[in-house]
Amino acid sequence: MGLLQSYRDEAKVLAGGQSLVPLMNFRLAQPHNLIDLNGVEGLDTIEIDDRTLSLGAMVRQRDVEQSPLIAERLPILREAIEQVAHPAIRNRGTVGGSLVHADPAAELPLLSIALDATFHVRSARVSRSVAANDFYQGYLLTDIAPDELLVAVDFHLPPADSGWCCTEIARRHGDFAIVAAAVLLGCGRDRRIDFARVALGGVGPAPLRMIAAEQALLGERADAELFRRAGDVAAQAVDPPADIHASASYRRHLTGVLVRRALATAASRVKGQA
């Protein structure tokens, strides 16, 4: 913290190095100093209680993937991680590194939005917590000052019986998603939806929660027609970018398709339902 405070803009924090070092190798980033977090004690803990999964910023993505505890209690996180790049990248890449790099198509920022995560940020002068929704402010832009460090993130666990799905369309497995969707669904009596989370990556400068789609779902009976309608609502709500990977209209189309598919998969995973 002291180093960060004294160097400020002159230094970059190095976590797994799977985003920063490629930028350095291209000379797109040329930090004068690197502060290596590898070897800093206490940043790699995985803790879970009834309500929260708390991950230290330096937990490797591979350790999330291989944790039986996470597979059991928050399977959507494991499903998301498996779509992050490749084993050798996940062996080194960290939870915190991906969250603060803030690529709008990345899976971990998307999950933090879907699960209403709380980010714990520290510096030599202050220690504070930020909601995911406030943490992401724009393209590769987060609410973190040059002398601050993300130390941990809390994912709030969804209701125990809820279904889940994280799915995406990418050119090849492991590539950044063109569009990614993460949904959580809880059903009460008569298959009426009493809990819904719909979040999208790749359709804006930062991952987005689709409140309009969630509202279209709540209180309704879970069926294919409802999921199609919720997909349409999401597709209408987004204003996706166009780039070399996909046009805006293709991204809008994918939004509808992925939300529909993810909801159907999530509904099939709701516990206690036929």
């Binding site: 070092v21 690197l34 591979r62 084993p87 050798a88 062996n91």
Partner: protein, 159 residues
């Protein structure tokens, strides 16, 4: 930058010490300082997998690590897997099934396959393709690579 960082590490079973520039990548250290040129430099930004080595038992991109970060680590390169006289069973399978043409990607492929088979000793073809998905080959079309890994499994030579 003139200053150097002193490191001590294990490479292919041998302990060694060195002084490295802070910006020296691990792959450049292995190739230029240690002469272990079996590890290849491809894209230099973590996409191609040619520079894959094992660091403390897990595959990593050696182009995305600084040599200074390997202080205290146990590094295994392709030179630590087999020799010309005694190829590793995976290398034998690659040879037998024509899983290489130019050979540029092969060291990375072998290390990725080693980790895959250690974590999942009997993978399906789909699992092999996903497991090796981070390693690019521009010659073979992957069919023979997948075949070679499958063959190594059926021969019980996954380790």
């Amino acid at each position: 930058m003139a200053e150097t960082i002193s490191i001590a590490l294990k490479v292919n079973g041998s302990e060694l010490a060195a002084a490295v520039e802070p910006r020296r990548s691990l792959v450049d250290f292995l190739r230029h300082d240690l002469g272990l040129v079996g590890t290849h430099v491809g894209c230099e930004h973590g996409v191609c997998g040619a520079c894959t080595v094992m660091l403390d038992g897990r595959t990593v991109r050696s182009c995305l690590l600084f040599a200074a970060q390997a202080d205290g680590a146990d590094v295994t390169t392709i030179e630590g897997i087999g020799t010309d006289e005694a190829l590793h069973p995976l290398q034998q399978a690659f040879q037998k099934h024509h899983a290489l043409q130019c050979g540029f990607c092969t060291p990375g492929m072998i290390l990725a396959a080693l980790e895959l088979l250690r974590d999942n000793p009997d993978p399906t073809e789909e699992e092999i393709r996903v497991g090796l998905g981070g390693n690019l080959c521009m010659c073979t079309g992957y069919v023979n690579i997948v075949r070679a890994v499958r063959a190594a499994v059926s021969n019980g030579n996954s380790r």
